[in-house]
Amino acid sequence: MDFVHQFWQLTVDGLMSGSLYAVIALGYTLVYGVLQLINFAHSEVFMLGAFGGLFAARGLMDGGDTPSGLASVGIVAVGLGVGAMVGALAAFTLERVAYRPLRRRGAPRLAFLISAIGASLFAVNLAGKEFGRNNVSMPEPFTNGEVFKIFGASVNTKTLVIFVVAAAMLLILDTLVARTRLGQSIRAVAQDSDTAVMMGVNVDRVIVLTFIIGGLLAGAGGFLYAMTFTASFTMGFIPGVKAFTAAVLGGIGNVRGAMLGGVLLGLIESYGGYIFQASYKNVIAFLVLVLILMIRPQGLLGERLGRAA
C-alpha cells in the first residue's frame, strides 16, 4: 500500500472538496445559529447559484477557444459574482416565502422543516424542467494545468482557484461575524433572540441578512462546483448532505466549526476512498461522524447542546 506516497496528493484533493463543503456548511450553521432550524432547502440555493454562475460564464465565453489571462480572471469573477447574487436572491426568496409566514404565526418547529423540504422539492423540479434533466457542463474558463508541486503533490489551476476563493470567503465571513456590527447582532440573536430584541436588535432584519450571507456563499460555492465538476438539477442533494454533516461535525451553530468540519470531512473521504474500495467512501465518512458525535455530541467546536431560550 503506497498510501504514504499518495498522502500529500490525497490531502490536496481532500482540501479541495473540503473547502467546498465548508463554504456550503456555513449557510447551514449561520441559519441554525439565528433560528435553531436546519434549512433543508439550502442545497437548492447552492444549485440555483451554480446555474446562475454557469449561464453567466457561458454567456461570456459563447463557444470559441478557452480564454486566458485577464479574460479568464474576468469570467471567473463574473461567474462567482452572478452565482453569489442568484444564491442570495434564492435564499432571500426562500426566507420570505417558506419561513417568514410561519415565523409570524409562531408555527411549531416541525412546520419549518416540512416547509423547507417542500421548497426544496419545488426548486429541484422547477430547475429540472427549465435546465433539462441531463448534466450541464461549463466550458473551461481557463486552461487547467499544474501550477506547482507541494511535497510531490501536484496542485492544478482549478484546485488553486477553489482554495483561494474559498479561503478568502471564509476569512471575510469570520471577520464579519467576529468584528462587525452585523456580526455582533447575529451573535446576539443566536445567543438569545428575546434579549436581543430588548437590546434594540432588529431580529427580522438580522435573519434576512443571515439568509442572504448564506446564499452568497452557497451561490459562489455552486459556481466553483459547476466549474470543477458539473451542474444538474439534482446536484444540490449530495453536497448539501455532506455540508450539513460538516456543520454538525464541527458543532452546528459555530462558524469556525463548520469550516473545520468541512475540511475534515473532505480529508477523511479522500483518504478513506484510497485506502478502501471507493464505494466505502461515504461509509467511512459517516462512521467517523458517528464516532465523533458519540464522544462529543455537541460537535468538535460546539459549546453546548441545549439552549436557554
Binding site: S137, P139, Y225, A278
Partner: protein
C-alpha cells in the same frame, strides 16, 4: 416541444395504421391486396414509445419505418408492408399487454421487438404460445435465449460477449502492462466488469479493480487511478459519470487510454465531458452507431428522409431486423403466414447493415461483432470491430 410533436405524430400514425388494419382484417392469410395490386402484409413493433427511455424505442421504430419505406418504394417489391406499433414503455409490466395486442391482431405476421430485456422476458412466453416470430434489435440480457422461447431471436450479441471482446481488444490491440477496471456498482456495471476482469485474467493481463458509486467528485479516485499507473482505464457505467471521471482524470494530467462500454455510447458524453477532455476516449458497443460509420451513409440519408431525424442507438439494428423479415417473406412465395415465417426465419443468412444476420439454434446472432468507437474531433467515430482490430 419537438418531442411532444413527435409523440403526437407517432400516436396519430399508430391510430391510422390500426384503423387501416381493422378495415382489412377480413383476409384469412393475414395479407390483403393494396392499391398497387400487390399483396400487403403487416408487421408489428413493440418497444418503449413513451416514458423516460422512449428515445431508444423511437430510434428502433424509426429504423423499422426506414426499412419499410425503402421496401415499399422498391419497384421490384412483390408485396407491400404495413406497420403496427405497440408501446410497452420498456417495462416488464406493460410488455405482456402490448404483446397481447399484437398477437390478437391477426394481420400481424411478425414482430420487431421487444426492445428492453425486462419487457422481452415478460412478453416472450405469449409470443411463443401464439407462434408469432419476435426479433429483438436490442435486448442484451444473456439469459433470454436460455428460457425455451421458440420464436425469439435477437440481432445483438449479449452482455457477456461485450466484456470478453473488450478484454481481448485491450490485451491484444493495446497491450498494456496494467489495466484499471472501475465499475459504477450498478447491476449493469458490476456485470460487465466481472466478465471483463475474468477474461483479462485468462489473457494474462494485470489489472486493478475498484468500484465507486455514481458521484460528481472523482478527484481522489483520479489520484488513486493515476497512482497505479495503468495504461488503460476501463469504466463500466453510464455516460454522465464517465464524462465526470474523464474530466477528473484529464485535470490530473492522465495521458493513458480512457475506455467505457455501451452505457457510455451517447453523444451526451462528449457534450458533458467537453470535446477537449473527451478527445481520444474509446467506447465499445455491440451496436452500430450509424453516423460513426462512413459505410452506413446511405442508411443515414434514407433514415433522415423518412423520419426527419438522426439515427440513434439501435436504429441500425431495428433496420436489419426488418430487412431480415422482408427477406424471409420474399422466400415464401404465396404461403405467407405466422407459422411459415416463424418456421423459416431461423435459417436466414443475409448481409445486414450491422453484421451478417445468421442465427444459432438458440436464436443468438452468430456474428458477435463488438465495435470500437473513438472520440475524434469531438465526434464518435467507428474504429472497427474487435475481431478486425485484434487480428493484426
Amino acid at each position: 416541444m419537438a418531442r411532444r410533436r413527435l409523440l403526437g405524430a407517432i400516436a396519430l400514425a399508430t391510430a391510422a395504421t390500426l384503423t387501416v388494419a381493422a378495415c382489412g382484417s377480413d383476409d384469412d392469410e393475414g395479407g390483403s391486396t393494396g392499391a398497387s395490386g400487390k399483396p400487403e402484409y403487416t408487421i408489428g413493433f413493440q418497444g418503449p414509445l413513451s416514458g423516460s427511455d422512449s428515445q431508444l424505442g423511437v430510434n428502433g421504430v424509426n429504423g423499422v419505418k426506414t426499412a419499410i419505406a425503402e421496401w415499399n418504394e422498391n419497384p421490384a417489391a412483390t408485396f407491400t408492408l404495413k406497420l403496427v406499433e405497440q408501446d410497452d414503455e420498456g417495462s416488464p409490466d406493460k410488455g405482456p399487454t402490448a404483446a397481447a395486442a399484437l398477437i390478437d391482431n391477426s394481420d400481424v405476421l411478425a414482430v420487431v421487438g421487444p426492445m428492453f430485456s425486462g419487457a422481452t422476458k415478460a412478453s416472450e412466453p405469449a409470443f411463443s404460445d401464439a407462434g408469432l416470430l419476435s426479433v429483438s434489435p436490442s435486448a442484451t440480457n444473456p439469459d433470454l435465449t436460455k428460457l425455451g422461447f421458440t420464436t425469439f431471436y435477437r440481432v445483438i450479441p449479449n452482455d457477456a460477449v461485450q466484456g470478453e471482446a473488450v478484454a481481448d481488444y485491450i490485451t491484444k490491440a493495446l497491450k498494456p502492462t496494467k489495466v484499471f477496471s472501475l465499475d459504477d456498482a450498478s447491476e449493469y456495471g458490476t456485470g460487465l466488469s466481472k466478465v471483463l476482469e475474468g477474461r483479462l485474467t485468462s489473457n494474462g493481463t494485470t489489472f486493478v479493480h475498484d468500484s465507486i458509486n455514481p458521484t460528481t467528485d472523482y478527484t481522489s479516485e483520479a489520484t488513486k487511478i493515476i497512482s497505479e499507473n495503468p495504461e488503460v482505464v476501463y469504466y463500466s457505467g453510464y455516460y454522465s459519470t464517465f464524462a465526470l471521471l474523464t474530466k477528473a482524470l484529464k485535470d490530473k494530467g492522465y495521458t493513458g487510454k480512457i475506455m467505457s462500454g455501451d452505457g457510455s455510447l451517447d453523444p451526451q458524453y462528449i457534450e458533458q465531458a467537453g470535446a477537449a477532455a473527451a478527445e481520444g476516449a474509446v467506447i465499445s458497443c455491440p451496436c452500430l452507431l450509424a453516423q460513426a460509420d462512413p459505410e452506413a451513409a446511405d442508411f443515414v440519408a434514407s433514415y433522415q428522409k423518412v423520419t426527419g431525424e438522426e439515427p440513434g442507438t439501435y436504429s441500425a439494428e431495428a433496420y436489419d431486423v426488418t430487412n431480415a423479415i422482408i427477406e424471409t417473406i420474399k422466400g415464401l412465395g404465396d404461403d405467407v403466414t405466422r407459422e411459415s415465417i416463424a418456421g423459416k426465419f431461423g435459417s436466414i443468412d443475409i448481409q445486414g447493415l450491422t453484421k451478417q444476420i445468421k442465427f444459432t439454434p438458440e436464436g443468438e446472432v452468430t456474428d458477435a461483432a463488438v465495435l470500437i468507437y473513438e472520440v475524434k474531433d469531438g465526434k464518435l467515430a467507428l474504429v472497427g470491430t474487435v475481431s478486425e482490430l485484434t487480428a493484426g
